[in-house]
Symmetry: C2
Subunit: 262 residues, 2 copies
């Protein structure tokens, strides 16, 4: 699944179908099995206490970042699973380099960390605001690559997921947030402004992904119009990543036969 | 369930049976229903974005703090659920007052925070080390009460749970950690030293609970020899707490009819 989803170079988002179901079958039991396997692997990661996994979730409003976390990660033990939402930086955060708050939030040994939005906002938001020219953009991208390589070399698997929805699907989801009183809280009038600049947003993200799609920390494009396929794909990819780490129960640091509990 | 579990004043742990099943039936489906209900209530808490819940989990080694988190909280959305383990303080933490790191870790609006061990270690550990006399102990307890009252007055429900196991049950669980290679990693030879001082540990905790068992932030004693009863009791108590908050979907801060998604 990881190979299947790997972003091509160069990336053209229009060439990838957001409705693609990746050959997966719609079956809640399959997702449930995957979640259970993730919970087992997470327990091993925690026991081993040596390595970590960072999942970076990006995508436009309504692309399903929160929903993916709720449906895929909910089976994980909250002890050893941290979710960090990246909102517009506070004054204190803005007083530091743009990777400062990202670095502070990376998962520790044994943990799975999820970035809900991430340091990639610092490429795309100023780009749309017109304050990041090509040179400055590419320099930040290189700084991101250096930062992510540090993480990988220190034992953290980095998985970057772009949730890819169509403009029509976004229209339906935003309208639902207006029409359904239990979803009003998710709506912000500002979302419509971002929607109006859809093409610019895609171009900015294509450039961001092209510049940071490294073998150490690859970008995956997950078609996300179908929520069930999106959930299954992300769950599988996380499973593959953890399976690929070849974990085992850690040997005791003492001789178990030397002790008896009185 | 909350009333049933409320610690009596004064507390005598020997008077409470760790094998009590609280009239509950052993039925995995009941726990699963409770977990699902917790997930719904958590989503409401998150949407409301106004209040928080702090669960303080205490208990001697092997009493089941990690297991309770894994079995009860795993259904919660990891976004909006934080678990903070309290290990022996780092040098940097020890350079501050004992509530400094606890305060930094309290849940934000919309969140459920779990303390796996807590600021109560700072009553019990120095007490067993002989460095906290009655006066100093009671002053810290008063400082804890003041701190927890601040949280409650600021919209955070505080739920303090003592997991209550018998000495025989602990013997079995520690022995299993020695005998089962997949559990060796949970064992530390230091656990046996704490076990040898079982009675002192109980006395220290009885005093801690007596001094901090306030109506604002009550202590609950959960019989924990039977893991299934423990899980169900903690899940129910958390459910009751959230239900009691009388939450509703927040009204929109805008007129939904004023917008149409193009």
């Amino acid at each position: 699944m990881r190979d299947q989803l790997r972003a091509p170079k160069p990336l053209s988002l229009t060439a990838i179908d957001p409705r693609d179901t990746l050959g997966l079958a719609k079956d809640e039991a399959v997702l449930e099995r995957s979640r259970r396997r993730l919970a087992e692997l997470h327990q091993l990661l925690w026991a081993e206490n040596a390595r970590a996994v960072l999942v970076v979730l990006q995508g436009i409003d309504t692309s399903g970042k929160d929903g993916t976390i709720r449906h895929v990660m909910t089976g994980l033990n909250p002890q050893g699973c941290t979710v960090t939402p990246f909102r517009p930086p506070s004054e204190h955060e803005a007083d530091h380099d743009f990777l400062w708050r990202a670095h502070a939030a990376v998962p520790g040994k044994g943990e799975i960390g999820i970035f809900n939005r991430s340091h990639y906002e610092d490429l795309v938001v100023p780009r749309l605001a017109g304050t990041l020219d090509d040179g400055a953009f590419d320099r930040r991208a290189r700084q991101i690559n250096d930062f992510e390589r540090l993480l990988v070399e220190s034992g953290t698997a980095v998985l970057k997921v772009f949730l890819h929805i169509s403009k029509e699907e976004q229209r339906e989801r935003l309208q639902e947030r207006l029409d359904d009183p239990t979803k009003n809280w998710k709506f912000s009038p500002g979302d419509l402004e971002v929607r109006r600049r859809w093409d610019e947003y895609w171009r900015a993200f294509e450039r961001a992904i092209d510049r940071t799609n490294t073998d150490a920390a690859p970008w995956l494009i997950v078609p996300a119009d179908r929520k069930w396929a999106r959930n299954l794909a992300v769950s599988r990819v996380l499973e593959e990543t953890l399976e690929g780490m070849g974990m085992a129960w850690p040997p005791p640091r003492f001789d178990p036969r030397a002790y008896k509990v009185e």
